[in-house]
């Protein structure tokens, strides 16, 4: 299976301080990978690096030939202005940007796509409502509908099931598994280890550096989790420049 995603000794961070340190490895095309680790482990940073929002401090990330703009990304904390006067229908429609661009028409096919995406997340009938009227769970469903419409080969979800009820989480998880059957590559940062064990074939345990990476059952061992928890967020203002040029190998 060709790699959809390859990390070459990647270091990502802010103000020269690494949040993900010397990561090397590949994600096969069609993989369903859970990214887990304690708070501050670098999960969100890694995902931001994949989407191109954050440029690596070192190393490189290759996306198997697709443009960063063709990666569908669901951020953990969105910057969405919920008071903006836009309808659910139009908001989901922005997922078609890569196809329509500045001027492209939204034809019958596109309109059907929007209707199907809304139906898939259970928001049929909400088309004309303003996005400000949605509940937190409905908003998350809406964002999933937009990801659906982006029709991306590589989908990156940052803690997509946070602060939503069990029913919504279960519905949205079904969508994620459906994407897996469609051979799309999906990465999701998650905290619920039970959910990872049951639903995600592969896992990456991150604590700045990779602690373990591979089949979920082999990654989520008590020993590995213990190691990850202990690697606290080491932030040292006076840290010297990193001298390591041997990448830490994982998997």
């Amino acid at each position: 299976m060709p790699a959809q995603l390859a990390f070459q000794n990647v270091t990502l961070g802010y103000d020269r301080h690494p949040a993900v340190h010397h990561l090397t490895g590949e994600v096969a095309s069609g993989a369903l990978l859970a990214v887990i680790g304690p708070n501050g482990a670098g999960k969100s940073t890694l995902l931001r690096g994949i989407t191109g929002i954050l440029k690596p401090l070192g190393g490189s990330i290759s996306l198997g030939g697709i443009d960063t703009r063709d990666v569908a990304y669901l951020p953990q904390t969105s910057e969405i202005d919920r008071s903006f006067p836009i309808s659910v229908y139009d908001f989901v429609g922005t997922g078609l940007w890569r196809k329509t661009g500045f001027f492209g028409g939204v034809g019958r096919g596109a309109r059907e796509g929007i209707a199907q995406a809304l139906a898939a997340v259970g928001l049929t009938g909400f088309e004309t409502r303003g996005i400000g009227t949605l509940s937190g769970g409905q908003m998350q469903r809406l964002l999933f509908a937009r990801v659906l419409l982006q029709d991306a080969r590589l989908i990156v979800l940052d803690e997509p099931f946070n602060a939503i009820d069990a029913k919504t989480a279960a519905d949205l998880l079904e969508l994620v598994k459906h994407w897996h059957t469609e051979r799309r590559t999906v990465l999701a940062a998650l905290h619920d280890l039970e959910m990872v064990r049951v639903n995600f074939p592969e896992a990456l345990l991150l604590a700045r550096g990779p602690v373990a990476w591979g089949l979920t059952a082999q990654v989520l061992t008590p020993d590995n989790l213990h190691v990850a928890m202990r690697m606290c967020e080491a932030f040292d203002d006076g840290a010297a420049a990193c001298a390591v040029d041997i990448p830490s190998r994982a998997a």
Partner: protein, 289 residues
Amino acid sequence: MAVDVLIMPFTEFEFMRRALVAVIALSLGGAPLGVFLMLRRMSLVGDAMAHAILPGAAIGFLLSGLNLLAMTTGGLIAGFLVAILAGVVARSTGLKEDASLATFYLASLALGVTIVSIKGTNIDLLHVLFGNILAMDDQTLLLVAINATITMLVLAVIYRPLVIESVDPLFLRTVSRAGAPAHLAFLALVVVNLVSGFQALGTLLAVGLMILPAGIARFWSRDITPMICIAVASAMLSGYAGLVLSFQTRIPSGPSIILVAAVLYSVSILFGSVGGVVRQLFPRRHLEA
């Protein structure tokens, strides 16, 4: 006779017809921009920009007297400089756009008033500060019309990225690189329209024909498309009624136009169908589902 009051001024006097054309052009360009300024929480940015164009206009005035083309060119240059510098500073440093703009426009305003005071009289200063829509010559009118045309064309091009950037900037950044250019183009359009408004309403009130109609529209619609239409219509209505009011009374034209808009705004606050005071005080019975 109603006809005498409402129509006669425009059939009888050419300067009134010119003023009406100018105000319609200003409404078409300015009001949609005002809606975006409001929705992007940049209402006061428009105000700041209006002040920022002053030194440019003042330098134009200094070089060639009350020549509108020179003042406009100067205003455009100053406005673009401040808008682009403020935008670049905000985007490349952690400083928020409003703080960045505030520093630039305050310096700019002080410089502008200084320049006008050095050479001009108080009358000149008054003209610069309040404009005169009743004295539009051919050249100025053409300029205002061209600016309105450019505004509508450019806005049509950047409309989608502008909307997406307003509602979900992070999403636009992940799917497109159009965000920053669209934002800068938008700021440039604001400057162009302020310079237009500057001839008619002066530096202090130019932004009024952008922001007040946008505020009015907010009380009548929940969707951005009708909101823009309502804003344009209420800007035109304010312009027309303001001119009539100014003609029949002794109120100067610029303040007259803005006062009419303010009255419309007050009515909207009270009776608007979206969040109006009366609607809140006497809510209709809640629905079944």
